[in-house]
Symmetry: C2
Subunit: 304 residues, 2 copies
């Protein structure tokens, strides 16, 4: 089973009641009702040395920053407001105080930037030199709108992305800016039908929206904004489709809403319309030569 199959299996095991859990397993965050008036959303991400970062190259400050930024990006994906996080870490036996402080610096740097307080944690130590692992659990609250889910895409919707895609491993993946403010701003300007953050690559994450919404999609390759780093890759288009770790927003909205958004958007991060939602149930891509092809899911699979 891949990551998505496992998630689906988990979700099947226990249907969470819609009243107590407005959003259950299968979105970027789950939502829990605490009282009639209040809900809270939660996400968790585990990052491992040698898999999600490489302590031979990255600093501990970068690792702390990235661990928080990945969860902040989940808050952005739902257009919710980060409020607090807890962080647990597994350290090698020899890990010292200065290293811990550097890691902490990266965690609070990311938290401060996006208004997310570090409220607790757990520090554990291996018996030997087993590799470093860090897990973040982050809470957010609803913004001005309902949380935006993956399952709301409608046939005829425009498909948009923020920023530019591809080549994140050349640097961006350890220093990226989660689109928290952009997501809240977009959701306040127009009515969004579906949204996700691009953690595993456009082809993988668009597929998640399509599957959850029961729709298909056509992407116009000429409209995909490819980053400078992506342009440096052997196949820039493939890089933009499949590299992963872009941590940009991918969302769908009615045609008219997308026109309104693109006309009025004054944010620093560009927004591009890259395709539209279809009823075909499959993903297609219009290639630079004008040919239509099936768009294959080739993004990063955590358990691939």
């Amino acid at each position: 089973m891949g990551e998505d199959e496992i998630t689906a299996w988990f979700a099947q095991q226990r249907r969470l009641s819609g009243e107590d859990f407005p959003i259950g397993v299968g979105d970027d965050m789950a939502e829990i009702r605490l009282s009639e008036a209040a809900t809270v959303l939660i996400t968790t991400d585990m990052l491992l040395d040698g898999v999600h970062f490489d302590l031979g190259k990255a600093t501990l400050r970068q690792v702390g920053y990235k661990a928080m930024a990945v969860s902040l990006s989940d808050c952005a994906a739902m257009a919710t407001v980060p409020v607090g996080a807890v962080v647990s870490v597994a350290l090698a036996k020899g890990f010292d105080e200065e290293q811990l402080k550097e890691l902490h610096g990266g965690i609070v740097e990311a938290g401060d930037k996006y208004g997310c307080a570090l409220v607790g944690g757990d520090i554990t130590s291996w018996r030997g030199d087993e590799p470093f692992a860090i897990s973040v659990a982050m809470l957010s609250r609803r913004g001005a709108t309902e949380p935006i889910r993956r399952s709301g895409a409608k046939v005829g919707d425009a498909i948009c992305v923020t920023g530019a895609l591809g080549g994140a491993l050349l640097g961006k993946h350890s220093e990226f800016e989660p689109r928290v403010a952009e997501a809240l701003k977009i959701a306040a300007m127009v009515s969004l039908n579906a949204m996700i953050d691009l953690s595993d690559g456009l082809s993988s994450d668009l597929n998640r929206i399509c599957k959850a919404s029961g729709v298909g999609a056509v992407i116009d390759s000429s409209r995909i904004p490819i980053s400078d780093e992506g342009q440096k890759m052997k196949d820039p288009l493939a890089s933009a489709l499949n590299d992963g770790e872009d941590f940009e927003l991918l969302f769908t909205l009615a045609e008219g809403e997308s026109e309104k958004l693109l006309k009025n958007w004054d944010g620093d991060v560009p927004i591009a319309r890259i395709g539209w939602v279809t009823e075909s149930g499959k993903m297609e891509i219009k290639m630079p030569d004008g040919q239509m092809r099936d768009l294959e899911v080739r993004g990063y699979e955590h358990l691939g």
Copy 2:
């Protein structure tokens, strides 16, 4: 630095405002205000193979159960009501589907028993056979009372524990029952001043209450309930004082309240009064021979 020094250092780095964070770093859970009327509490615990459990002996079902039970015990320590949890895991590359299902079984077994839903997670895989790690983040809400903190112990208070202590490594540590229901019941019957769960041993955890409250304590060794497993250890009293992983409740309350509690308590889990809070600032123990001695902190230190 030991675990407590690190926690203190973290807490100093950023004072969380009392309005948004009624309970900050340094208790069993932090409390976050979500709106005027609503707060949520959160805790996180990371458990490592070879440190907190041994997959050579424990089943994955036991590991999943224990990971949840440790956090449930934190909910109990504050007399709060568990509502939901997210779980992240780091698996060796060869980890298969059946193993994942067994782990999941243990997680939901513990969750179901205490009304705590599994709402999400993150499954990651090492590149090779690095050891298994599991991190739980759990949310709870206030019960009928304010959350009970470590810092409220008052000179003259009675000190009580639930259950019996010592020898948890002989078995209880992987199958224990977090005292969620007992904590809520006790807090509803009487006014508690301070509470903690016994994760690292009576001497360590009582020290945390004393330090947080600025008080001392006297424990009467003859009143400490020692478990059957503790009785099997070479030094049963030392085992009850220092073994850790008892996951019982340790709490302080006014003398009169303790009398009321002990008289009216009809729960299945016994409660014993084992000492009293003093103004000395140090911990002392009345030994079986009647001599008073300083009670040294010898419990489990996560970073020892």
